[in-house]
Each structure stands twice: as structure tokens, then as C-alpha cells.
């Protein structure tokens, strides 16, 4: 049987037991090895209670261990016979919104942790809003610390009812609710007697069985050119291959294509994967395309099919998560990078700031600070071929780069 791959993010703070949950998944799926466990025991001994602290598994940097918090996104790996899992472990406090946005950008699924004793709180709403902005296809609301709520079905049901209202407001689609205790291991990998009233699956079963095929778009063909391959040898004198990764859609030999933003058209002469010619290639594959005509194509161009074309424009409406300590100032210039294309751009307008806890819009502001999410208008120096983020994640996300520091300062979700 072939294994596929699921990338997910866990949202929550230390207090929600997020690190304990990840530790539990790794521990119970036997992805923790003896030497790591020894190091863990050694560190746990330095703490007061002496029990093995699964949370320590995910705290990577010394500064974080000393402060007992997670500062940065860490990636963790485990697998079962069905799937390989990549966990983006991101801190959940409001001052780390940028890290959560970063971790969420590639995730197919998010686990939102809710403390059974506290129910849906401001942080839960914030995590849900970010999940919705980043368009994460699958949402798991894990109601944790059920052991501290007497494993009560009523507690669980009330939180579900409460969260469902929130999900409806945000338009979240695929939401699953699970009662768990990460600390005690209830309903994580194994079913629990304590939760015998719960008829759903365990967390791991859910992660193993979430359907991922609909997360990949096969109808809107997009191929950003990364690199042009020209061997210029005697036998391959005229070879001109466009190397890149198909980010959505299907390409077949003979397909009519258009190159954007130039608008020049041609036909696919050949498709190669790993040196072998093939009749068709599809989303997520890295390939080399050759075209019939010798037209001018370079890195940053997008080869699309003639149906379902993307928008081409120099003016973008975006939701922008600001990620730098220096504020975003209206009128400032940045480099904008979308897939393989980088262009100069200017932030023309900042329309409003979105309160990530309440969704309220705050108008009339001239600048935005670290972790703010704003609606802005960006003008680019040359045309871009893009889709709206809500419709096609892989061609609707862009980053802003500060040309003076080279730092990535903003994440744009194109509207």
C-alpha cells in the first residue's frame, strides 16, 4: 500500500497542552527513540514534579527551554503505515501570529486545542480566524483536558455547540470535534474507556483518514517557470526546457498554452519527469516542459492552459499579515514574490486593520505593526498572473521583502 503525506499545524499555547499533545502523538506512535527519551528524562528531572514531560520534546532551542515557551515554528515528523505526517508546531500567543501564519501556510489540516474547562475563548477564535484566512481545508477542534472535566459528555457537547456558531460565522467547512486528554493519552492513539460515550474516531485515526484528494486543484493549470534548461550540446542544440513544479491542474502533450504575463501562446511539445518523457503531468509534480515555438520565456513566467486563466494585473487587493518589527508604512516600496516571480511593488493603501480576535475592522490607519493583519492595495511595477487565495492557495499567496534588510516582512493573501 502506498503512503501519502499530510501536513498539519497545531494551534494552542503551552497552557492548552499543545506540546504535550505532539509529544503524545510521537510517543504513542513510537516515533520517540531511546536516546531522545533519555535526554527527556534528564531534563524532566531538573523540573519539580519529576514526571516525564512530553512537552520538552518539542522545545528546540535552548532559549525556549529556559523560558518554557516556544518561540519559533518547529517541524516534527512521524509516520504510520498509512501516512507520513509533518507537524508545524507554532506558538499560539497573539504576539506570535506571524509564526502561526507561517506554519499554517502549508498545512492541510489544523488542530485547534480548546481547554475543556474554559471552552471557546479569545485565543480559540483567533486561531480559527487565522485558519480561515489561510484557507486550511480541514479543521479539528480537539477539546483537551477532558480528564479535568470529569470526561463529561455535557461539557464536550456545550463546547461543540458554542464552536459551531463560530465556525458558521467564519464559513469553516470541514470541522471535526474530538474529546481528548493529551496528558493521559485518552482518544489520541487509542480509544478510551473514560470517553466511552464518544462514538467518533481517535485523533490518529482521523489524521490517517482525512481525505486529501480534494485539496489539490486539478482544473486550473498553473506552471510557474523556475529555471530554463539549455544544454547547448551538439545533439541537444535546440533543446530549451522550462523547469518548474506544476502547482495546479493537469498538462498534456499537445495542450494549447499561454505564457503570462506576456500573453504569447504555444503548444506543449514534450513533458519530462526525471528524464523520462510522459504524456501528462499534474499538480505537485516537478517537470520540464518543452514548447513547439521558440518564444521568449524566463524565470517568473507562468505557463497556463487556455481555459480557466488566472487574473493578470498590476494592482492587487490583499489581506496582509505584517511580520516585521519595523512598521508597514503606507507608500513604502517592497519586493513582492509570488512563486518564482519577484517584482517591485508599493503599498498604496491600507484600508483597515482586522482584529484577529473579533474580526472587527478598524479603519483610518496609516501604518501597521508586527502581527497586524490589514487589508491593503498593492501596486506592482509589472503585471502579475495570480488567482485569489480563497480559490487557489498555490497561486494566491505572496510575500513582501524589505529591499534594505532583505527580510521577509509580509505575507499576502490575494483577494
Amino acid at each position: 500500500m502506498s503512503m501519502d503525506l499530510l501536513r498539519f499545524i497545531t494551534a494552542g499555547s503551552v497552557d492548552d497542552g499543545k506540546s504535550t499533545l505532539i509529544g503524545r502523538l510521537l510517543f504513542d506512535s513510537k516515533s520517540i527513540l531511546i536516546d531522545q527519551l533519555e535526554a527527556l528524562e534528564k531534563q524532566s528531572r531538573n523540573k519539580e514534579d519529576g514526571e516525564i514531560d512530553l512537552a520538552l520534546l518539542t522545545d528546540g532551542l535552548r532559549a525556549e527551554r529556559e523560558q518554557g515557551i516556544t518561540i519559533d515554528v518547529a517541524y516534527k515528523y512521524f509516520s504510520t503505515p498509512k501516512r507520513k505526517f509533518i507537524i508545524a508546531d507554532a506558538p499560539g500567543h497573539i504576539q506570535y501570529t506571524r509564526n502561526m501564519v507561517t506554519g499554517a501556510s502549508n498545512a492541510n489540516l489544523i488542530i485547534i486545542l480548546v481547554d475543556a474547562r474554559h471552552g471557546v475563548v479569545e485565543q480559540t477564535r483567533r486561531h480559527s480566524i487565522i485558519a480561515s484566512l489561510l484557507n486550511i481545508p480541514h479543521i479539528v477542534v480537539a477539546i483537551n483536558k477532558m480528564d479535568l472535566a470529569d470526561y463529561s459528555q455535557d461539557v464536550f457537547n456545550n463546547i461543540v455547540i458554542d464552536y459551531a456558531k463560530n465556525a458558521k460565522t467564519l464559513g469553516l467547512k470541514d470541522v471535526t470535534y474530538l474529546p481528548i486528554s493529551a496528558l493521559k493519552g485518552d482518544n489520541i492513539v487509542d480509544k478510551s474507556e473514560n470517553l466511552n460515550w464518544f462514538e467518533g474516531t481517535t485523533l490518529l485515526e482521523l489524521l490517517e483518514n482525512v481525505k486529501l484528494e480534494n485539496d489539490v486543484n486539478l482544473t486550473h493549470a498553473r506552471f510557474p517557470v523556475q529555471y530554463v534548461i539549455r544544454p547547448q550540446t551538439e545533439e541537444l542544440h535546440d533543446y530549451r526546457g522550462y523547469a518548474g513544479k506544476i502547482i495546479s491542474g493537469i498538462y498534456k502533450k499537445g495542450d494549447e498554452v499561454t505564457v503570462l504575463p506576456s500573453g504569447l501562446s504555444s503548444k506543449i511539445k514534450s513533458i519530462e519527469i526525471s528524464g523520462k518523457e510522459t504524456e501528462e503531468a499534474f499538480a505537485q509534480q516537478s517537470v520540464i516542459l518543452q514548447l513547439e515555438n521558440d518564444i521568449d520565456i524566463s524565470r517568473g513566467d507562468v505557463i497556463v492552459k487556455n481555459e480557466n486563466k488566472p487574473s493578470v494585473s498590476q494592482e492587487l487587493q490583499v489581506l496582509l499579515c505584517w511580520m516585521d518589527n519595523k512598521p508597514l508604512v503606507k507608500g513604502n516600496k517592497y519586493l513582492l514574490q509570488i512563486n518564482s516571480r519577484t517584482v517591485k511593488s508599493v503599498v498604496k493603501e491600507i484600508e483597515y486593520k482586522l482584529d484577529v480576535n473579533t474580526l472587527q475592522k478598524n479603519y483610518d490607519l496609516q501604518q501597521a505593526g508586527l502581527n497586524d493583519i490589514v487589508r491593503a492595495t498593492i501596486k506592482t511595477a509589472s503585471p502579475l498572473a495570480y488567482d485569489s487565495y480563497a480559490a487557489l492557495r498555490t497561486n494566491g499567496g505572496a510575500i513582501l521583502i524589505d529591499e534594505t534588510s532583505n527580510v521577509t516582512v509580509g505575507a499576502c493573501m490575494i483577494q
Binding site: 527513540l33 493537469i250 512563486n339
Partner: protein, 317 residues
């Protein structure tokens, strides 16, 4: 103009079976994408090649990324002088077979030219010193990007490292000043003197690498497979007897069937007892094993909890 409808709500009967990729295909495609981003964004990249399985896997992926063209970078080997001869033979054979340029710079020369102090002790390792040679080589060739085989599953500090990781001109990594890395967009903008370390197999685990080597039938140096070797036992680890380590009177030289899980220097890489002579056997052993790759075979990582974090900050790969 854009729309607010989701394009992929109704999916025309395309189950994962027909047009889905399994995890190795996805990891491979991601790695090729990263290779091509390096080629597209940098003037003078290099592929750091150690002769170990991870860098051999990188070469295999680079072939997939750039053939029928040539690699847009040379292979660069920082030779500590303490390498396994089998790994060096394999390095030369591979470079020759694929017809790509191989640059070798020796730690030996750096020690002589810069009057560095050779480390002393039983397992005197040049692991620390190779950072000097690496930084000199980067300066000599003005490399702006170095591609390496680092994986996030290897160690806690690596788990937070970006796929494009910026180093200052001293080769230093600052974990607190890392750039956010979103979607599949890699920001390779740097100032003169800085360079980027790029890690195409960041998201692979040890087992993924082995499964990929099996699937792709990638040829490896013989030391990865079981062979008989003279070893001594040191704090529970088996270390090959060679001219690079100091034998004491109390050491007992044993003949054992061993293989290597990682191939670093002969002074800082330990062997594991094994009778695995085929990749299938190795994968079975790894699946059953209870110790992580670095814990079992890297003598240099056990020093302190934050050992890797410290070395990375100082320019180690």
C-alpha cells in the same frame, strides 16, 4: 479581477490513485523544486558533498532537477583527512560518472596555512576545524548559496531551521533572526558577503532517505552495509580502529560485523553491529531500532544538550 468561488469544490473523479503522489514522490518533487529555486535565485551556488548517503541522495535529486542540462553548481567536498577511504572512492567514482565538477578543499591545508591547533585526545576530531575550511572555500569561490543534506529530524536545533537559511559572513546562524518561510516561496535575497544554506531534504527522515535509496536503486559506499572490521568499544559505541584514533593499553580490539548509519569522520562516527547486507535488511533494522541516527553514531553530539545549536551558530553546516 478575481472571484471568490473555490475552484476545487467539485473534483472530477480523480482519487489519489490516479493523480495523487505518494509521500516519496512528494518529497522528491519538493526537493527538486528547492534545487531549481537555488539555481534560479543565485549566481554562484555549490553543492556540499560529503560522500555520505544524504549527499549522494542530493546528487541523485540534482540529476532529476537539471538533466539533460549540466548542474548549475560544482560539487564541493571539505576533506577532513579523516574520511573513510570507501567514501572517498565512491565520491570520485560518482563525480566521474556524472561528469560534473568536483572541488576538494582539505582541512589539512587550512591547519597548515592558518597555524590552527590540531585537537588532541583519543578521538581527536577535525569536525570543528572543517568550519574554517568551509568558510575559506566559500570566500575563495564567492559562493552565495551552499546546498546541503541537513534534515530537520536529525536534531532539535535543526527542527527550526528554514529551507533557505541565511548565514552572515562569519557563517553564523542566528535562530532568533530567521526569516518566516511561507507556502513554497523561498526568499534568497542576501547582502554581499552573506550566503544561504539551502536544504532540499529538510522534510525527509532517515527512514525516508533509506526508502528512497531503495526505490531509486541508488548506489552507496560499501561501509553502509555489513562488513567485518576491527573496532574498539568506547562508552557503548563501536569505533573503527584507524590511524586517526589513539589506542590505549586498556582498549580491546574486537572483530565485529558492523555497518554505518551515517558517514562522517572515522574519529567521530561510530558503527553499529549488524549483519544487514542489503537495503531491505537495513530498513528492517532501522524500523526496529530504538535509537536515533545521531544518538547512535555521532560521538560529537552527545557532548551537551545544546551541542548542535552552538556549532550551527558558529557556522557549522
Amino acid at each position: 479581477m478575481s472571484t471568490n468561488t473555490t475552484y476545487n469544490e467539485s473534483h472530477p473523479n480523480s482519487p489519489l490513485g490516479a493523480r495523487g503522489l505518494d509521500y516519496l514522490d512528494q518529497l522528491e518533487s519538493e526537493a527538486i523544486h528547492i534545487f531549481r529555486e537555488v539555481a534560479g535565485q543565485f549566481e554562484r551556488p555549490a553543492l556540499l558533498f560529503s560522500g555520505g548517503k544524504d549527499s549522494i541522495t542530493l546528487v541523485h535529486l540534482a540529476l532529476k532537477a537539471f538533466r539533460p542540462g549540466k548542474f548549475p553548481f560544482p560539487l564541493v567536498h571539505i576533506d577532513t583527512g579523516h574520511n573513510f577511504p570507501e567514501a572517498l572512492d565512491h565520491r570520485d567514482k560518482l563525480a566521474n560518472e556524472i561528469g560534473e565538477k568536483l572541488i576538494i578543499r582539505k582541512v589539512e591545508d587550512t591547519i597548515r596555512e592558518k597555524k590552527l591547533t590540531e585537537p588532541k585526545g583519543k578521538f581527536a576530531s577535525r569536525n570543528q576545524l572543517q568550519t574554517f575550511t568551509l568558510l575559506d572555500t566559500i570566500e575563495e569561490f564567492q559562493f552565495d548559496a551552499c546546498i546541503g543534506g541537513g534534515r530537520r529530524d536529525e536534531e532539535k536545533a535543526r527542527a527550526k531551521e528554514r529551507i533557505f537559511s541565511v548565514r552572515d559572513e562569519f557563517g553564523q546562524w542566528d535562530p532568533k533572526l530567521q526569516r518566516p518561510e511561507l507556502w513554497n516561496i523561498y526568499n534568497g535575497k542576501i547582502n554581499k558577503g552573506e550566503n544561504v544554506r539551502a536544504f532540499p531534504i529538510s522534510n525527509w527522515t532517515e527512514l525516508d532517505v533509506w526508502n528512497y535509496i531503495r526505490r531509486e536503486k541508488i548506489d552507496l559506499p560499501s561501509i553502509y552495509f555489513s562488513h567485518e572490521r576491527d573496532v574498539i568499544e568506547h562508552e557503548g559505541q563501536l569505533v573503527a580502529v584507524s590511524s586517526f584514533i589513539r589506542l590505549d593499553d586498556t582498549d580491546v580490539v574486537l572483530k565485529k560485523n558492523v555497518r554505518y548509519r551515517t558517514v562522517g569522520d572515522m574519529t567521530c562516527t561510530a558503527a553499529v553491529e549488524s549483519v544487514a547486507t542489503r537495503i531491505d535488511d537495513i530498513i528492517n533494522e532501522i524500523t526496529a531500532t530504538k535509537t536515533s541516527e545521531r544518538g547512535e553514531t555521532r560521538i560529537d553530539d552527545k557532548v551537551s544538550e545544546a551541542a548542535m545549536e552552538d556549532r550551527k551558530k558558529n557556522g557549522y553546516f
